[in-house]
């Protein structure tokens, strides 16, 4: 039974066996007998039909040697098989490969680390050769299992490295041909992916963050595993990505890698891993990663806020990489999801700092995402966010409502900051502008401030925002960047100027305004002036300025300090307007007032303060320091501008409570004292949702937005969709119909209607949950409960 050393019997043995026997030396340390190996190779090449028997025989010999622990001979056998494998290209190679793989498996099964490593090397060589006809019945299950186990070895780096290289080889071997073995099956991926991550997670990976390409011959297990992961992800086609991502998420959960126990705020490994995935994945699929992470956030709704913060943090770090590729409904779906998380978070706990961090992380992710979208999508996103904001009602009964509003406005601001306005009319479609202006009348001064900031970032096209944050009478020092306004801009302001000015005027009436609020309105007006500088807009602006002055003079609700604030705002604008539009006489007039006030009443000039000196004279007592309408008209005329419009009655009231005068005001406002019926029963509110009038209106107003949303909601049940649409219509109706009412309600007056509306909006938003089971509960819609009379005429 002793081969290789028994020359006498070799004569009776088949030739191929003799060739094989002869490659083994007497003493294993002498190594493979080279010239006999050449003979064997030549023999195999010339008689390829013998290859399978050669292979089988070599395997049998090696198996015996392993059993007898004669590892030297085993190593020689493996080397010989490697050489044969590389030398032969015959179709018969297939059969040889079977023996070859049996041999590799045999070595992997041994407890000797050396043999395992050797086997892996051979397997890698095998994986690199191209077989003419891959064998479809061949299975790599054992190799994946074993290499994965080796990846976890505690016997040192060498075994782990072998394991990783082995996995890499299996992937390479199988990935191109699904018929051979579908390596993307969970049974494999659930082994391969955690094994790679396990090796990566202990790395000092941060030092290498910059290097996106790692040399192939990296021998450090973390780097090698990373290379392998990149390769794997890079080869994944659309159908396979989830198979890779699922075990990644599971591994991160189980190993607590979102928020490591020793350092919960350190999610750098998570970021690192997902960046790798994003950079390796075929670009057109990258949004799948984002989608999967968002879904994982859903799954973690009950987890600690630290974990949720970490996941959102990862999202915000990678979302940018995906955004460029994301198209279509995916965008809104992701945004919607993030918004839902924000809302849920607000519901959870409002006070915990950890929850706050989570909200910030979400807002950041939103902003990052939007930042990398094309501008037209940003507008859609802003409108989408807008549609999610609960409406400011008289009193926000719960702090959560309040918080949600402000958080959503912050998100809106974040997105707005990333948006670059070109034409105002494309930035402010009516369906966006109107709700935004309505929001600018929110009871909470913080919220109003946010809305103004959103307006600022969207209006400012020439980087003048910084210069115009504070009212000033030294306009010449500002170095404003000016550009002649375009026709579309002028059309825009002609069309929408009235509602904008009106909203700004109304917001200035609020007795809860701080100097910050007044300054913010100044900035908005100043930006409007700068961006839309033209003789045509000057009159409207001046009309407003004069209106504000009379508000400051006549209001019975504003405090003295607030009135001083308004006067300072008025004079600042009066200087700014003729500087920008170049009306020297008017500028001169404005400067005279400034000078006079500097002498006699500095409290009527900027800066705005909360408290003014006790002895500050109220403006009514110093009429010569006020802006005089007649003087303005005259200066305009000598500046070459027709002031006749300004001379007419001002559309702005005297500023007393509840005295918002109709008539000349834009029809959008209608009468402030509309009856309940006026507000609640416009033709749109119809129990039949398919009223054609309503449909047409929506299509006209929100074409792209609606179509996007349609795609978004198409996946959910039709019933839910229909209900949502009805609800949206109704709430739209309320939104559009009740602005004047809102204006009125911003004044300290309550009535039955307000409470009723309050109830409705509250129940609407309560119904508007994401939980589909709740949606399914067949209930009377809130509006039917509250307004049954609307549905049964």
């Amino acid at each position: 039974m002793c081969f290789g050393c028994c020359g006498c019997c070799s004569a009776f043995r088949p030739r191929y066996k003799r060739f094989v026997d002869n490659i083994f030396p007497v003493y294993p340390q002498d190594g493979l007998v080279k010239n006999n190996m050449e003979k064997l190779t030549f023999y195999a090449l010339s008689s390829p039909e013998k290859l399978d028997r050669i292979g089988e025989y070599m395997y049998q010999r090696a198996a015996r040697d392993i059993y007898r622990r004669r590892y030297g001979f085993v190593i020689i056998a493996m080397e010989a098989m490697d050489q044969l494998l590389l030398a032969c290209h015959a179709p018969a190679l297939n059969l040889f490969v079977e023996s070859f793989l049996k041999m590799v498996q045999k070595l992997l099964e041994s407890t000797e680390p050396e043999l395992q490593i050797l086997a892996t090397q051979s397997f890698v060589k095998f994986a690199n050769i191209e077989e003419d006809t891959p064998s479809y019945h061949r299975r790599y299950d054992f190799f994946v299992s074993k290499f994965s186990a080796m990846c976890h070895s505690s016997e040192g780096d060498q075994i782990r490295i072998a394991g990783i290289k082995g996995l890499q080889a299996v992937v390479r071997k199988t990935v191109s041909d699904d018929l051979v073995e579908n390596i993307w099956e969970p049974v494999h991926m659930d082994k391969i992916v955690p094994s790679l991550l396990f090796n990566m997670q202990n790395a000092r990976f941060l030092n290498n963050e910059a290097k996106e390409v790692i040399p192939e011959d990296q021998t450090d297990p973390p780097m090698l595993a990373e290379t392998c992961l990149r390769e794997l992800v890079g080869r994944a086609s659309f159908g396979h990505i989830r198979a890779v991502l699922k075990p990644v998420l599971k591994h991160f959960d189980l190993h607590k890698l979102w928020a490591p126990e020793d350092n919960p705020n350190n999610n750098e490994f998570a970021i690192h891993t997902f960046r790798i995935i994003m950079f390796s994945i075929q670009a057109q699929y990258s949004y799948t990663v984002v989608e999967t992470l968002v879904a994982h956030l859903d799954d973690n709704a009950k987890s600690s806020p630290i974990i949720r913060t970490s996941i959102s943090g990862v999202l915000s770090k990678i979302i940018a990489i995906a955004a460029g590729e994301s198209v279509g409904p995916m965008v809104l779906e992701i945004i919607n999801s993030l918004l839902c998380h924000l809302r849920d978070s607000v519901k959870h706990g409002t006070s915990m700092t950890e929850e706050k961090q989570y909200q910030d992380a979400l807002i950041n992710a939103l902003g990052e995402f939007a930042n990398h979208l094309p501008d037209y999508q940003k507008i859609e996103i802003m409108m989408f966010i807008m549609s999610k904001i609960p409406f400011p009602l008289v009193d926000n009964h719960t702090p959560a409502d309040n918080l949600l509003q402000s958080i959503l406005l912050k998100s809106l601001l974040k997105v707005g900051t990333k948006y670059q306005t070109i034409h105002l009319n494309s930035t402010f479609p009516v369906s966006f502008l109107e709700p935004l202006l309505r929001m600018s009348l929110a009871p909470d001064p913080e919220m109003r401030l946010l809305v103004q900031k959103i307006l600022h970032t969207l209006l400012d096209r020439h980087q003048n925002l910084e210069k115009l944050t504070k009212p000033t009478v030294n306009v010449s020092k500002l170095n404003l960047v000016l550009e002649k306004s375009s026709r579309p801009d002028l059309i825009f302001i002609n069309k929408h100027g009235p509602i904008i000015y009106d909203a700004l005027y109304t917001t200035l009436q609020m007795d809860s305004n701080t100097p910050d609020n007044v300054e913010a309105v100044y900035t908005t007006l100043a930006l409007l002036c700068v961006e839309l500088a033209s003789a045509e807009t000057v009159i409207d602006l001046l009309q407003l300025v004069l209106g504000i002055q009379s508000l400051a003079l006549n209001s019975t609700t504003l405090s003295t300090s607030q009135k001083f604030n308004l006067h300072a705002l008025v004079i600042s604008l009066l200087v700014l307007i003729p500087s920008v539009v170049t009306i020297p006489p008017l500028l001169e007039y404005a400067n005279q007032i400034v000078e006079a006030r500097t002498q006699e009443a500095p409290h009527l000039l900027p800066d705005l303060m909360v408290h003014y000196p006790q002895d500050s004279e109220v403006a009514n007592k110093v009429p010569h320091l006020l802006v005089d309408q007649m003087a303005v008209c005259e200066n305009l005329k000598s500046g070459g501008i027709d002031p006749s419009r300004l001379a007419q009655t001002s559309p702005y009231g005297a500023g007393g409570p509840g005295v918002v005068i109709g008539g000349q005001r834009n029809s959008w406002i209608e009468t402030a004292r509309g009856s309940v019926i006026d507000i609640n029963a416009p033709p749109e509110v119809d129990s039949v949702s398919s009223s054609p009038g309503v449909q047409r209106k929506m299509v006209e107003e929100e074409l792209t937005f609606e179509s996007m949303k349609k795609v978004l909601t198409e996946s959910v049940e039709i019933r839910k969709e229909a209900e949502a649409r009805r609800r949206k219509q109704l709430s739209d109706t309320f939104r559009t119909a009740t602005f004047s009412e809102l204006v009125r309600r911003t004044q300290p007056k309550h009535d039955v209607l307000q409470n009723k509306l309050n109830e409705i909006f509250k129940s609407l938003s309560a119904n508007d949950r994401r939980n589909p089971t709740e949606e399914k509960k067949i209930e009377k819609p809130a509006y039917e409960q509250n307004f049954p009379e609307l549905f049964f005429y």
Binding site: Q60, R139, D141, S148, A149, H152, E181, V187
Partner: protein, 203 residues
Amino acid sequence: MDDYKFLFKVVLVGNAGVGKTCLVRRFTQGLFPPGQGATIGVDFMIKTVDVDNEKVKLQIWDTAGQERFRSITQSYYRSAHALILVYDISCQPTFDCLPDWLREIEEYASSKVLRVLVGNKIDREDREIPTHVGEEFAERHNMYFLETSAKEAENVERLFMQIAEDLMKQARSRDLPRYDASTTNINGRTSTVSDSNCCSRFQ
């Protein structure tokens, strides 16, 4: 010499520290390793035994009990012919976790898998789980039951031999789950029996 008629995959599961690795090493290497460290990920051992004069190769996958390795260990259940669920008779919590393990087995393993419940460490004086309690549990859940001591080599050989015999009986009656990566359904559970001889009659 290396030929075997049957190849069976056996996977050990159970809480950390119940003695899975010790059982495997006792069986494959005939020793009780002093200071056996916790298993990381998955370990692998092989042993060929004789059943009715036939060679049966047992591929033994020893999984880590630690929770954090659950993702990788679960992926090994799927191809198991037999699952050995181990608890420590001197440690009540390891017994209390059994329902959780069963749930996992239900989810990830083949429904045909041979399931064996093992109460290990019977050499210890401080027993907390009486034999009949373990027995009843096994009966209720349709499992084989055995108490062992890896330390004293008690019932270890018997455990694995029993499994080998049983699987062989099943294989002979062609009732053994066969694993074929391409026949897993969407849930990742093996659902179909393939024609290929993958319980491996190597000749």
